[in-house]
């Protein structure tokens, strides 16, 4: 497995993190050494092993669908990076 600059650009797009050429090169080097280390798992035959998704062996609980917190809009908006009374603001998305 060799992670080239094209792959880095692809992952960068998927993860919505912009990278310039210099950063991409550094990341490619780092990721290649990390993946070399990860490849060790290929030594193991796992065809018949069930994947473990959670160590908490419980089924997800159900709860009744009730409103528990009301009128918390101010709290929710409070940490919004762009000041506006009632809404979250983003750059224009529709021309």
């Amino acid at each position: 497995m060799n992670i080239d600059l094209k792959t880095i650009k692809h992952i960068s797009k998927l993860s919505r993190i912009s990278v310039d050429e210099k950063k991409a090169e550094k990341l490619a080097g780092d990721l290649n050494s990390i993946f070399k280390f990860i490849e060790k798992l290929n030594e193991l035959k796992t065809d018949k092993v069930e994947p473990l998704t959670s160590v908490a062996e419980t089924t997800l609980r159900l709860r009744s669908d009730e409103v528990k917190s009301e009128n918390i809009r101010d709290q929710i908006i409070k940490n919004s990076p762009e000041e506006n009374e009632d809404f979250f603001v983003v750059p224009k998305v529709v021309e």
Partner: protein
Amino acid sequence: MSDITSQSLSSLINNIKNKKLSSEEATKAFIDRSNKSKELNTYVTEDFSNAILKAKKFDEKPNFDLKLPGIPMAVKDLFCTKDIKTTAGSKILENFIPTYESTVTQNIWNEGAILLGKLNCDEFAMGSSNETSFFGNVQNPIDKGLVPGGSSGGSSAAVSGQLTPITIGTDTGGSIRQPASFTGTVGLKPTYGSCSRYGIVAFASSLDQAGPMAQNVQDCALLQEVISSYDTKDSTSIDFNRNEYSKELTKEIKGKKIGIPKEYRVDGMPKEIEDLWQKGIEYAKDCGAEIIDISLPHTSYALPTYYIVAPAEASSNLARYDGVKYGFRAKGENLIDMYEKTRSEGFGAEVQRRIMIGTYVLSSGYYDAYYLKAQKVRKLIKNDFDEAYKKVDAILTPSTPSSAFKIGEKKDDPVSMYLNDIFTVPVNLAGLPAISIPAGHDEKGYPLGLQIIGKAFKEQEVLNIAYAMEDKIGFQNKITDWWIK
């Protein structure tokens, strides 16, 4: 009363209950020492004036029935605290003020403790040296220029340096136990599902667990008793019979079977770690425990598994930081550009690296080869422990493959940094409880820790073994106050 800050939690509680010490005096003593300890860089946010007000309020109408009556304490800055800035060590949350409280910290305040402030940590708890924090590295009180471990590095340094009597950290791959080991303190990672994850900034949800850090096992047991609770706000919180860990604590561990896993004798392990482990085995025998050789055959696959599972979960958890609803926002030409610049400028290098790994292993065409494969190996690792626990009650290993290293020493080599967690990561993958206790010093005089791993939900057993061994070890931390100004 002289030397308030060097007292253990238990003696502080006794002195407050017997009215030899007021909460205000205790709080001011820790604040005073914290003010003289800026060089350690443990605090991201101080809440000292509020703490004094709360302490005065406690003293006016003290309730001595509480488990932490008027006890001041600082917590890792990964726990959301209502109206107090919570950064997770990241620029992206630099100005984030939660409007709610994490369950674990709420449990602590309900028992009478008082918040001193928020402690530095690796960014989003991703790191083993506290060097990935946006707020700078933390100094280990043991020696200048030494890392305090990570990710709960501010927490371990604050307990070791006596800036707080106790604290809480979080442990995803060793983030409580490794820093405890590096600073000569005690740290417990509870069973997955023991402490609620509600209100803790998420890193890898199937591995994250909060836990206590203290100067000794007894204090650790008391704090665990306070923070562990069943919580419907966390869908993986488990409703099991929780012990009164501090009351049920005993040094009577005669006949307990303790396993020694041969696979933890890794290549290149320093002799002093090997010797420490051997000494630990002797201490356990002295306590009346029976030592049994065991095998955990998939141990060497734990780190590669972790470095797929944890980044995968992190890439998904950290998708929420988009500059829209809270946190840092960079200017962009359009929405996508804004997202990409926000995340590029807001996250540090290690966090970006892990998001990238996670995104890659979950991406189309690679999911089966990496993520599914890792989940299968995770099953094999858990099976190893299940098999071992048919023969033994607990497992004894070193906590880390070395003592604390120098700041900057491993910063540029991610894989060598990851190897720090070689003994702690398997425990998180299997969801088990484990404690690190200080057990000796290396030739430089830096502390070394031993790890005791228990069966799921058997925190009491882990604490009891640690309590008995702590007594035999008689460890003294060598703190010279070199940083005090």
